[in-house]
Every structure is written in C-alpha cells, then in structure tokens.
C-alpha cells in the first residue's frame, strides 16, 4: 500500500479534478445568478475543441487557451441569448448546448483534419514547474507535482469565491439568483448580471475542456470529456451551491477516480467496472447519510420578465 499512496497519486488526483473544478465554478456562478446550466458538458467540449484548433492553426498553445475562451464566449453567449434574453426554458436551452457542442465538435474534426475521431497532436501547454516552492520543507514535494497552470486553476477557485461572497458584484449576482424581482426593485440590472454570469460559466467550462485537450493531452477527440460536465454539476449540487464544499467534492471525485484507476495496477482481483462506479455510489451514500437537504438559490430556473 505504501507504494500505492504516492506523491503522484496526489498529482493524478489533481489532474483528474481540475477539469471538473473549472466547469463546476462556471455552473456555480451561473446557478447562483439564477440560471440553470446543465450544458457544461457541451461547453467543455467546445472549449477543448477551440483550444486544439487555435493551437493547431497558430502553433502557439497559449493562443490555444485564447481559442478556448473564445468558444466559451460563444457557447455561453448562445445560452445567455436563449435562456436570459429570450427567456427560454433554461433546462432545455442548456440541453441544446450539450447536443450542439458534442455534435459540432465531432463533425468538424473530419472537416478540418480530414480524419475521423481524433485530431493529430497539436502544440500543448508546457508544464512549467513552480519557482522555488518545491524546495519548501513538508509540502514542497507535493507542490512539486503541480505545474503553473494547475496553480492558476486553483487560484480561480479562490477568485470566484472572493468575488461571489465578498464583493458588491457577488452580492448583486447572488441577489439575482435569490429573487430577481427583489434585485430588480433594488435597481440591479438582473438581465445584464445573468447574461454576464452565463457567459462567464461558458468560459470557465471551456477552460476546463482546454485543460483536458492541451494541458493534460495534446489532441481533441470526439466526446473526450466523458461526462465530466455532468459530474461538475453533481459536485455543485452536492456542495450545496457553495464554492468551498463543491471544490472539495471535486477533489473527492478526482481522488476516487485516481484510486479506481491505479488500484488495478496492484491487484487483478478487482471488478474494475464496479470500481469506476464507486465515486458515484460513495457520493450517494454521503448524500443519504450526512449531507442532507440541499436546495439551490430560491429563484434559480425562473426566467425574469418585467412589464
């Protein structure tokens, strides 16, 4: 076992959880502003795709990140138009985002590269080691497993928390999610706030996808997100729409996955298919036992109309 619990198990955990954490942050912002977003999966895919396309065309992976942001703006913008401006049903709108995101990215690969399924390798974000942190005594080695980009990802968690919970902008955003009417009466531009939140969620989810496609890997593959967008949604609800708990839940999912994958290396006796179901079962058990009532922002899901 001692050989099993290694630094790199820790590293795997982080690398598996980051692509869930980022969309989770997006979904959380979105729902806290009162807009349901089950379209994270589609947004992630378009982000992963956008990143690869730009990295491929420009040869510069950092511009690839730019491409992810761009596609995030697009998918987020689409959802904002449908669910906020046109007051479409938010669940259906985001379902549409999922279908289009998955379909379009997969359909464009052969159109651009002339081959089905998987793109050729594109320039990927170099894993810059952290400056001097690794020399720190105890946690040093752990931090050594982190790359610059990971740290940025975790910084985002704090930033989102700060803005959402400590600043005026955050208060306005949460007000829109709790009661659009009250927010409106208080002079908050509900529609504008929600549009911003939805677009932002698109960008964050897209970055999550980009992390998969040009940070972890160097390619895009049809449906490569494999349900991580839904997992992010689950983590958000599981964390009761709060940044901290939801963040921990993501780490938990990451750890469970890492264990499920790596445990197989040490024993052949495990029914691995069931092992993969473990995180979800554990989450269910947790919900059944100690997590208890979770209810989202009071006004989430209700389009805002004013005469």
């Amino acid at each position: 076992m001692s050989e099993f619990i290694t630094l790199s198990l820790f590293a795997s955990t982080l690398h598996l959880s980051v692509p869930v954490i980022l969309p989770m942050l997006g979904g959380l912002l979105c729902e806290r502003s009162g807009v349901v977003n089950i379209g994270l999966e589609g947004m992630m895919l378009s982000g992963a795709f956008g990143a690869v396309v730009f990295s491929y065309l420009t040869g510069n992976p950092w511009l690839g990140l730019g491409g992810a942001v761009l596609s995030g703006l697009i998918s987020g913008g689409m959802l904002a138009i449908m669910s906020v401006l046109l007051r479409g049903d938010q669940v259906i709108s985001s379902t549409a985002i999922n279908l289009i995101g998955a379909g379009l990215t997969a359909a464009l690969v052969p159109i651009i590269w002339g081959i089905d399924g998987t793109t050729p390798s594109v320039p990927k974000i170099p894993t810059l080691p952290l400056p001097l942190l690794p020399q720190l005594p105890v946690i040093g080695p752990l931090l050594g497993e982190l790359s610059m980009i990971d740290v940025l990802a975790f910084a985002l968690v704090f930033i989102v928390w700060w803005v959402l919970m400590r600043t005026d902008v955050g208060l306005r955003l949460r007000a829109c999610g709790e009661s659009a009417a009250a927010a409106d009466a208080a002079g908050i531009a509900v529609t504008r706030v929600r549009i911003a939140a939805v677009i932002l969620s698109g960008v964050l989810a897209a970055l999550g996808g980009a992390y998969l496609s040009i940070v972890t890997l160097d390619l895009f593959q049809a449906s490569m997100t494999q349900g991580r967008g839904f997992l992010a949604l689950a983590a958000m609800v599981f964390g009761k729409w709060r940044v901290g708990p939801a963040f921990l839940v993501c780490l938990g999912f990451g750890l469970a996955d890492a264990v499920a994958l790596r445990a197989q290396i040490f024993t052949d006796e495990l029914p691995h298919d069931l092992l993969f179901a473990l995180p979800y079962l554990l989450a269910l058990v947790a919900l059944a036992t100690f997590v208890g009532r979770a209810s989202g922002p009071a006004d989430v899901g209700k389009p805002f109309r004013r005469a």
């Binding site: 290694t6 399924g117 998969l212 052949d268």
Partner: protein, 317 residues
C-alpha cells in the same frame, strides 16, 4: 456488369479508432484500387441502426458488405439469412443461424490476436530492465482479453518472475484517464506498456513521451510508431485490411466461399509491426522467430481467455 460497390458498416465507435474500423476502410480502398468501383462507409450512430444500415447497403447493390466488429453479429446474421444472394464479411465474430450452422454467404473472419500478443510479450519481457511490465486496455472486451492473455503468456515464456500489471480505462475514448493510468504504471517503475485502449490510447503515448528514454510502448492492431517515435517498441498487428481485401478479391473473382475463418500467424494475418522490426536486437528476434515456429507448428497455443491463461504452462523456446 456495372462497377462494384464495396461497403462497410461500423459499430457505434466508428472510424478514427486507429483500430480495425480504420483498417477495414484501408482494405476497401485497396479493393477499389485493384478492382475499381467505389468504397462506401456507413457509420452507425447506435446499435439499433445496424439492421437498417446493412439492409440499406444491400439495397444499394453492394458487391460486398463488410460488418466490422462483433457487435454486428446478430444484425448481420439476421440480414444475411434474409438475403442469401448477397455477400457479407463479418470481422471478429462468427455468424451462425439459430442452430449453430454457419451461414454460407457470410465470411466470418476472426483473428488469433493472442498469437501476435504472445510475440509482443516476448519482446516486452526481453526489453524490460525493471522486470515490471504494463498492459492498458480500454474496456474488458474479448479481443482485448485475447491480447492480454497472449501477452502475459509470452512474457511468462521468457521469464515467469516478470510482473505484468494490467488495467482498464473503462472507456475506449478517455485519453485523459489512460494517461493517468500510464503515469501510475511508470511510478511503480513499469518500463514497457502495451496499449490496447483504442482511441483513448493516445494518452499513453503522451505520457511516455514525457517519461522519455528507456520507456517503451507496444501498440495493438496497427503500427503507431509516428505517435512516439523514440519510445515505440513494436506492435501486435492484425491484418484486417488484408482480410477484407482477400474476401473482396474472392467475390470479384467468383471464388467466394463463406463460413468461419480463423486467421493467425500461420495465415500471416497477425504478427509484429513490420515497420521497425529490424531495429529490434538480434537475440529478441531469434526468440520471436522460435516462438513463431512453435505456434505455427502447434507446439505452443497462446491462451485466448483468462481460463486458458491460468492453465497455460510456459514451454521452452
């Protein structure tokens, strides 16, 4: 008559799997070069479309309809028995009617992947310095298990003490997890990994390039040297293209006869990747050739299931 139509039907995984779907397509293209006509690929979105797709192909006047993947077995059998005049090739499964007699208008081609994997195992065992070898499968499907069993048997034949860890990603389409898995193996100082993870396998090459020299990857189905030139050891290939071409040729020349056909080393339908075979050290090649002979002569039968693997006793090469 008019120009032939060579049609293939994929399962829901479809083209781009770097595996037998792409290879079968290759076979079609070769057929077009050789016998003219046009190639046509129908990719199924889901399983319930197999039958309509096959009927579609037949109705479209296909000279030969190739069903790729064992999932198509039921559907192809159903269609073939209702269209006795049409010609079919089924890859990776044997098409029989309800009481088990093979359909005669279907050439059911199965490969003995375990034989190629056996050789790959030998190469892996003789290359590994750490004495710990890895195997990453996408999902635990029979072809993957055949690779695994043969591979382990091959390793055991060289040195039973060598440890072989195998693990599954849980999907053929999750390169990220495949990469994490590979990294995990490198941590427990595996230095040779066999990749049977389908499209998701790309993650493994990504990981091994990062790992650098003295780490080796063994591919399956096709030569994938271009994905990691410096770390590519060899590949347990199966010549799906060749098989498809062979059946098409048979139809073209009117010598087609259906029924099950198991292809392996003896038929030259499986083996190690030819691209870089000569870069392997001489003593390894010697062992590989020895194994080849013993397998073709039937002295050694590589296991194709877990049970057979447990029962397998390494022979002296």
């Amino acid at each position: 008559g008019d120009a032939p139509i060579w049609t293939m039907i994929t399962d829901q995984n479809g083209l781009g799997d770097h595996g037998f779907n792409d290879l079968a397509k290759l076979g079609l293209d070769k057929s077009v070069e050789a016998f003219g006509g046009r190639a046509q690929v129908i990719q199924s979105t889901d399983q319930s479309q197999f039958v309509p797709n096959l009927l579609q192909a037949v109705a479209g006047g296909s000279t030969m309809v190739v069903g790729v993947g064992s999932l198509l077995n039921d559907a192809l059998t159903e269609v073939a028995s209702s269209r006795p005049d049409a010609h079919f090739t089924l890859i990776d499964a044997v098409s029989t009617d309800d009481d088990g007699t093979p359909l005669l208008n279907v050439a059911s081609v199965t490969f003995r992947e375990q034989e190629a994997a056996f050789l790959a195992g030998i190469v892996a065992a003789m290359t590994s310095k750490t004495g710990h070898i890895g195997f990453v499968g996408g999902m635990e499907t029979p072809p993957v298990v055949r690779f695994l069993a043969g591979y382990k048997a091959g390793v055991a034949t060289i040195d039973p003490k060598i440890k072989v860890s195998h693990a599954f990603v849980g999907s053929f389409r999750d390169p990220a997890k495949a990469k994490v898995l590979a990294e995990g193996m490198f941590d427990s100082d595996v230095d040779v990994i066999m990749d049977v993870a389908g499209g998701g396998g790309r993650g493994i090459y990504d990981a091994i390039i990062a790992e650098g020299a003295d780490h080796w990857v063994i591919a399956a189905d096709t030569c994938k040297g271009h994905l990691a030139p410096n770390n590519f050891l060899t590949s347990a290939v199966k010549d799906v293209a060749g098989a498809v071409f062979y059946e098409n040729k048979a139809v073209h020349e009117g010598t087609f006869e259906g029924g099950p056909q198991s292809l392996g080393l003896a038929e030259g339908a499986v083996g190690l990747c030819a691209d870089n075979i000569d870069t392997l050290p001489a003593e390894i090649l010697a062992k590989v050739d020895a194994a080849k002979n013993k397998i073709t002569s039937g002295e050694v039968t590589p296991p194709d299931t877990y049970e057979a693997l447990d029962a397998f006793v390494p022979a002296q090469l």
